[in-house]
Symmetry: C2
């Protein structure tokens, strides 16, 4: 397998590898949201949220649609939500091993 494939994949992963961007992905699970709504959820300044959105857009994860002077973003590839299941499995196994380490 070519290294460029892994580089492309890593770009997508990087576009999700930030707490605020994971919050955004989760928030968009139920449907589209404008930047101002996402800002409330994430709790950063509007420019910062906008930049996170732009990273996710460039990675092909979300898409924006203008309505008036607001821009509504939505998930393009909803399967990213299923990533959480696996990530949480990693976290659980981590906690299990941490507990074992304490016992031993």
């Amino acid at each position: 397998m070519d290294r460029t494939v892994y580089e492309a994949r890593a770009e997508v992963m990087k576009a999700l590898a930030h707490p605020s961007r994971l919050m955004i992905a989760d928030a968009l699970a139920d449907g589209e949201m404008c930047v101002c709504e996402l800002q409330e959820i994430v709790g950063s300044t509007m420019p910062t949220v906008s930049r996170h959105l732009s990273q996710m857009k460039n990675a092909g994860i979300i898409e924006g649609r203008r309505d008036g002077n607001q821009i509504y973003y939505r998930l393009l590839v909803p399967c990213v939500l299923r990533l959480f299941g696996c990530i949480d499995a990693v976290l659980q196994s981590e906690h299990l091993r941490a507990a074992e380490a304490v016992e031993a």
Copy 2:
């Protein structure tokens, strides 16, 4: 949902958000491998590969086992391999939209 949950998830994502680390995860799909074998696959220096492995280990993705003077790593949570499917779906949809943009 608490922000700390998203921070923990982001740590796991970050531990995979690098081409070399994705290559390592993929290589470990078929079973454990020592660092020297992974080095050949990744194509970086041994210290660099070792540091990638240590990041993945801290995130709870892999585990190492010493045998003689070699250390064999294995995937702790094999479901990370299923991530590739979704990531590739993102890449495909990206290419589709890029093609549409060229047509228009």
